[in-house]
Amino acid sequence: MSIAFPFTAIVGQEDMKQALMIAAVDPGVGGVLVLGERGTGKSTTIRALAAMLPTIDVVAQCLYQCDPSAPRPGLCTHCGKPGETPATRSVTIPVVDLPLGSTEDRVVGALDIERALVNGEKAFQPGLLAQANRGFLYVDEVNLLEDHIVDALLDVAASGENVVEREGLSIRHPARFVLVGSGNPEEGELRPQLQDRFGLSVDVRTPKDVPTRVEIIRQREAFDHDRAAFKKKWARKESALRRKIQSARASLDDIDTPAELLETAARLCLSLGTDGLRGELTLVRSARALAALQGKPVATLSHLKTVATSVLRHRLRRDPLDESSADSRVERAISELFGHDQDH
C-alpha cells in the first residue's frame, strides 16, 4: 500500500473531518456523504481516515470480522453457533474501497472458484461487503455508481446482512458498515434512496485566501517530496487523534443525554419538516459522539448545534421555490429555535 496523506495534516475542511470522526466514534450515525468541487481534498481526507481508526477485536478464524463479544444471533453462521468462546485477534477497523466498475460478484461475494477447482468444495469467497463488515465502505464518485450495485448496497445497508444465492450457494453473513461516499454535485444528483442512507452530509469547498492556499500546497509538496518522512513528522499528532477516537468510542455509552436535548432535536426536525425519525436519531447520536470526542460527559445543545447542519442539510424536502440553500434554512431554523442562546 502506498502511504496516505496524514489526516491531521489536512489544512482546513473542519466539517468534513468532524463528520468522519463522528462516524468513526459511532458507526451507528449511518454514513457520511461528502460533496464538493474538484480539488477540495475529498478523497484525500477520506483515505486518510483509515490510519486514524483504532483496532477492534474479531473472531480469529472469521471471514467477516465477527465481534467475539456480541450476542450470537447477529453473527455469521459460523460464529453464531453455540459453543466455546472462539480465539480472537485484533485488527484495525477496515476501510474498504468500492471502486466504480466493480462487478456484482466481487461486491456481494461468490463461489470461491480456486477451491472449487482444486478441492471440489463449495466455498464462499467473500466480497467487498464482507470485508467492510464493522468498518467503512468508501465509494468515490458515488453519484456515478451503477444502479444494480446501488441496489445491492441499499438492500444490505437496510438489513445489515448480505444474502447471497448463486451458483448453488446459499450464504448469509453480517454486513454492517459505515458508507462513505464522495462526489461532485455538478455531475448529477444522487438517487434519493441512496442519499437517505447517509447520516451526515458535508459540503466542501476550496479555501480562497492566499495564506491558507500556500499552506495547502506546501504540505502537499512536502508530502510528495518524501512521504515516509512526512508521515513520521505527523506521527505524534496522528497517534494523539487515534487515542482520542479510541477513548471516545469507549466512553460513548456513558455520555448523558438530557431530555432537553431530545426535545430540541425533535423540535428542530419538526420545524424543518424532515421526513421520518432518522434525522432526530442521527442528531442525537452525532451530538453524543461529538461530546465523547471532546471528552465531555454530557451532550449539550452546543453539540447539537454543531452537528445540525451536517445531519439535516440533505434531509430537507426540496422546495425549489425557496432560493435559500439548505444550509441557511437549517441555520435559520436553529436561530429561531434557540433565539440568542446562552450555550456558547
Binding site: S2, D105, I113, N184, E189, I217
Partner: protein, 588 residues
Amino acid sequence: MSAPFLNYSDMTKTTDASPWADAEWAAALLVLLGHTLGGVHLRAPPGPVRDYWLERVRNLSQQTRLRKIPAGVPEARLLGGTDLSATLQQGKPIAEMGMLAECDERIVIAAMAERMSRNTVHHVCTALDEGQLRIARDGITGNATTRITVIASDEGTEEETLHPALADRLGLTVNLENIGIHDAEDEMFDSADIARAKTRLQRVSITDEHYHALSAIGVSLGIESPRALIAGLKVMRACAAICGRLSTDEADLSLAVRLCLLPKAQQLPDFSDAEHEEPPPQEDGEEEQAPPRPDQPPPEEDRLLQAAMAALPPGLLEQIQTRAARLRQSSAGASGAQHRHLNRGRPTGVFRGDHRKGGRVNILATLRTAAPWQPLRKRERGPRARNLEIRRDDIHLTRFQQRRETLTLFVVDASGSAAMQRLAEAKGAVELLLADCYVRRDQVALIAFRDENAELLLPPTRSLVRAKKALAALPGGGATPMAAALDLARETAQRSTKQGLTTHYVLLTDGAANVARDGAKNREAGTRDALAAARALAQNAITGLVIDTAQRPQPRARELADTLKSAYIALPRADAQTLNRTIRAATL
C-alpha cells in the same frame, strides 16, 4: 546547441520568440516530472505539428512507443479481468492485466480524450491520484500499480472539451492550435539535459515570495483547485533545474503561470482599470460568503502575472478570455457535454440477470463467467458433458438504457413583452420539473431568448445545482428574437435526439416575435422568420407544448403553435406549481 539554457537569458529569448518554445518546454517538463505532474492536456488538431510534438516527447522519454488509450476502451480492457482464452485453455481463472496497469511508469496518450466515457475518466483520475487502482471485477480482487503519465489529446471544439475532473489533474496544458509546422523549431533539449536536471531537482528551493506569488496569481485567475498550484510549484522547480539553477527565479514563475495556471483561468484580471472590474464569476451561487474579491493581488503579483500574460503566444490570450467569459455564463463549463456521454443511447453496462425476463444476453461476459467452471462442470456431468457447460447463473445481460430518457427543453421568452413576473414563474416551473426529473433520471435544458439572440443557458443536465445557477443568472427585458430561439431549440433537440434522448420542448412566450433571423428589429420580418423556424422544428418531428403567457391571450401564439404542430395552452395566471403540473401532463 551544447548545454542548452544554462544561461537563462537565452531561454527567455527563445520563449518570447516562439510559441513552440513553450511546447518544447512542456515536453521536457513532462518527461522530467512524469507521474508526479499527472500529464499534459494537449489541445491540438490532428496533423504534423501534433505528431512532431508527440515524437519529441517519445524521444526525450526514450520510450520505444507511446501507447494509446482509445476513448471508447471497454472497462474490462482498461481495468483487467478474466482472460477468456487463457482461462478456457488452462481450466482455471487467469487474470488479464488492464491497460492502466500495463502502462505503469510510462507515458500514455489518451486519444480523443474529450470523448472519453465518464467511467474511463474516473479510472484514469484514480490512477493519477493514487498511483494504483483497486480492481474488483470478474472474480478478481486486487491492486494494480498504475503510475502513469497521461497526454490527453483533445481535438475538442467549442462543443466538447476534456472532462474537467481529468483536466484538473493534468499539470500542464499545451496548445498547438495556432502553431504551424514551420513554427516548430529546433530541439531545445535532449535526454541528457533531462537526466542532468533530475539530479538537481530535489535540491532546488523556492522562496516564500514565489509560493505566495503563485497562490495569489491562482486566486486572481479564479482557479479554485489547488492541483494547478501544486503542478506550478513542480514546474518552477523543474525549470530551474533544467536551467542549472538551485533556486527559482521569475522566469520559472512565468513559465509555471503560462503552462499551469493561465490555461485553467476562470477569469482574467483587468489591469487597465484600477477603479475595478466586474465581479468574479458566480462560482458558488448563493453561498457567496466572502467579500467579492477576498484577495486583491498586491502589485508585485500583478506585475508578474502581467509579464507572464505578455509572454503568451499571440491568440492564446483571446482564447482564454472567450473561454472564461463562457464559463461565467454557464458556470459548470463543459460538464454538460460529458453528461451526454453518460447516457448516449448505447449499452451502458453488463449485469448478471435472467434472460427469460427479457434483455439481450452479453455473450462475452457470459463466457467469461462460465470459463473457469468448465473443468469442474465437465467432471460433474461425466461423459454427457458438452464442450461448453453454461449455467443459468452465468448469464449476463447487456444493460441498455432502461427506457429512453427524456429531455425537456425549456424555451423561455425573457423579452420585455413577456413580463418579468412570468419569467420568475418559468424559473420556478423549471426547478420543480427538474426536482421531479432527477428522481426519474431525466434531463432538463433551458434556452432563453431576449434582445438580440437566443442562448442555451443550461445544456442538458440533471443537476439541480447547475440549473439553479443558470436560472439565477437569467436576466429579462428587450426585444423578442423568436426565430433565433426556435432555431437553437431545433439544433439542441436534434443533438439530444441523436444521443438517444426523447426530446420535448416547452415554449413559454406571448408569441410576439419582433426580431428577424438577420437581427433586424421588425415585427413583420420577425414573425415571418419565426414561422419559418417553427416549420423547420415541426419537420423534425419534435413534439412540444406552447404556453401562452400573455395577460390576454392573442391569436399570434396560437398561430405559432399550429405551425409548430404542438399543443397550445393559454395560462395567463398560472403559478409555478400549475405550470409544472400542466407541463408534466402534456409531455410525459
